[in-house]
């Protein structure tokens, strides 16, 4: 594996499968009386959050703590940190505090890339979501969830079709998923009104469509993205009602899906907008499970990036 996890494209297929396999073993920890491993004892993980995201931060925090790492939560949101100089200053502060890993969430696309490449800090950098760029651990947990249900928790995802529905243009989750699903042999299908698909989508990995109803019957999983109300004001679509009518997942649409098909959502859900309560709570929905899987996957990432010496995976590792 590479030293940092900044983009889903940092992972080869072997890397990605290794993360999922490792997560599978680590998931068993939560059934034990002692939900903790000594692996990262004495190592410091900093959660550097320039943007609010309680879910992601808690997930990384739980993952770090289950591996016995020391966790420092650094919330830079609301402070006057907006200029680049401060990212450098912050990085250097963390460096002198002896951070071994920095989990960074930032509103600016590319901020984790800078942290990983600018020699401001030696720590391993894990991208916990940057701007409208990527969110690789979310893609890993989605892949884990899909694999667990549809591939008996083993191997890759070859042959699986996944619809990613909603605000593809602004979604870091969609980008990372498109890359990782392709890496794992699955076919992502981006579904959105044309205004919410990026220019050049036809050259992305996978397929795209403007029509959810055409896509639903042929997919094995559907991933509903959160649609922000403010997009409406920027004329990406006329009204919430119209969006919901065309791209919302409701009970009738669920019926048109295959029996085994999964419903995923990275959360937090806009019930009534992109997904109805009925669907969110249906037997096809794995939304709640995604949260638990998030902890296992992040433990796996932390272990694989931080658990050994700072070199590549050993020959006896696979």
């Amino acid at each position: 594996m590479k030293k940092h996890l900044v983009s889903a494209s940092d992972l080869t297929k072997e890397d990605a499968v290794l993360v999922l396999d490792t997560a599978k073993e680590l998931a068993t920890i939560s059934d034990r009386p002692v939900k903790k491993l000594p692996t990262l004892r004495g190592r410091t993980v900093v959660n550097l959050f320039f943007e609010d995201s309680t879910r992601t931060r808690i997930s990384f925090e739980a993952a770090s703590k289950r591996l016995s790492a020391d966790v420092i939560n650094f919330s830079a949101k609301g402070s006057s940190v907006s200029k680049g100089e401060s990212l450098k200053d912050t990085a250097q502060t963390l460096q002198s505090m002896g951070a071994d890993a920095v989990v960074i969430r930032h509103g600016s696309s590319g901020a984790p890339h800078l942290l990983a490449t600018r020699n401001w800090i030696d720590a391993v950098v894990i991208n916990a979501g940057d701007g409208t760029h990527e969110h690789p651990t979310q893609a890993l947990l989605d892949a884990y969830t899909i694999r667990k249900h549809l591939r008996k928790n083993e191997g890759d995802l070859s042959g699986i079709k996944v619809a990613i529905v909603g605000d593809i243009l602004h979604s870091r989750v969609a980008r990372s998923n498109a890359i990782l699903l392709k890496t794992l042999g699955a076919t992502p299908i981006m579904v959105a009104p044309p205004t919410l698909l990026p220019v050049g989508i036809e050259n992305w990995n996978g397929e795209y469509s403007y029509n959810l109803d055409d896509v639903l019957p042929k997919v094995d999983a559907v991933m509903m993205l959160r649609v922000q109300q403010e997009r409406m004001n920027d004329a990406y679509f006329p009204t919430a009602r119209e969006y919901s009518r065309n791209f919302g997942l409701n009970a009738q649409r669920l019926k048109r899906m295959q029996e085994h098909a999964l419903v995923l959502h990275p959360g937090p859900m806009n019930r009534g907008m992109e997904i109805t309560a009925e669907v969110a709570d249906s037997k096809n929905s794995v939304v709640i499970e995604q949260v638990a899987n998030g902890v296992s996957v992040r433990m796996a990432v932390l272990y694989l990036l931080l658990g050994g010496s700072n070199s590549e995976m050993g020959e006896n590792s696979l």
């Binding site: 680049g84 100089e85 990212l87 450098k88």
Partner: protein, 430 residues
Amino acid sequence: MKILLKNGSLKGEKNVDLLIENDKIIKIGPAKSITDVNAEVIDLSGLIILPGLVDLHTHLREPGREDAETIATGSAAAARGGFTAVHAMANTLPVADTAGVVEQVWNLGKNVGLVDVYPIGAVTVGLKGEKLAELSAMADSNARVRIFSDDGFCVSDPVLMRRALEYVKAFDGVIAQHAQDPRLTQNAQMNESELSGKLGLIGWPAIAEEAIVARDVLLTEHVKSKLHICHASTAGTVEILRWAKDKKVNVTAEVTPHHLFLNQTSCESYNANFKVNPPLRTNKDVEELRKALAQGIIDVVATDHAPHPIEDKEGEWQSAAFGMTGLETALSVVATAMIDTKLMNWADIARVMSERPAEIGQLADHGRPIAENEIANLCIVDPEMTWKVDAQDTHSLSTNNPFHEMTLKSKVVHTIFRGKLTMKNGQVKK
């Protein structure tokens, strides 16, 4: 004070000797034909003599942002790049929108004395795009402003643009438009493309430039005025310019060295030294811009030298400032892009970096033929030198040069400004 230039190649053609006295060229003869014991003799064997370069688009930052650049440091960088005249853009603090400010810039340039600094006046008060600045007062000032631009912002209101184009006809002025539709480029960060989608950076569509260029070409034709397009960056703009020139619309255009040399893939590094307005485009755009420059569809090269302090450039892409420095590397970049590729020769370089810019700026003493009794504004180039750019090695106060670590061919070695060596053997005489 006399200077005797021996055996230099005139625009890459015949070799000559050239004698300068005071500020004038007093004698030109065949190679090794002139001797003068009282003159400082400089051997130009293997070097090329061009007219002193003229930049139509320079941000000198003074007054207001003397932390990024001053007229003195910008002039030194210009001299080092082979320039003898630069046009100082109006987006200073305060904005160059009154006779007072443009005269201040004019005088500061004169005091430094390394290049002629010609101020560009703002089109609208405070660059706000709301009402016209006192264009006529600036034209009548000692600075004798002829080019007006809100550069950094587009004069996007079509009525205001029409009025500006009409108004400057009274004193034969030209409006230099920064063509960028503001609504199509809200928060935009890089060229809109598959890559902007992948990098998660808000796209800046080519159409945002082309729509304004097309509109303004039509307006210019309608009111029979003069338009100059700043930093053309897209193949589509080239198409519109081709059409306009075909129709004999009075439009000229510039392209920057960086748009002739770099493309959007540089953005993959999230290194904000590649963040510029207009953004770096695709390889195809670069190719079309080169061809257009060679064919004269694009008239001139202008640097859009835009210095910024480190703190405005080293952070996250979205919060970084737009712009690149370029005075010191301009000729080398253009030569590498255009001569190495056989698209142009040295006479063409003289045309696009000196003669045409001086014409557009209506400068009497620049971009003139290299002939007896002309003012001695010269740029001497070593066409064979290959060198690696070091952004830290600069006379500018800023180091945001995107060509850092790149290898370029040809370099300016001497600059003569009004008969004086402002740079000799790469050393600027401050």
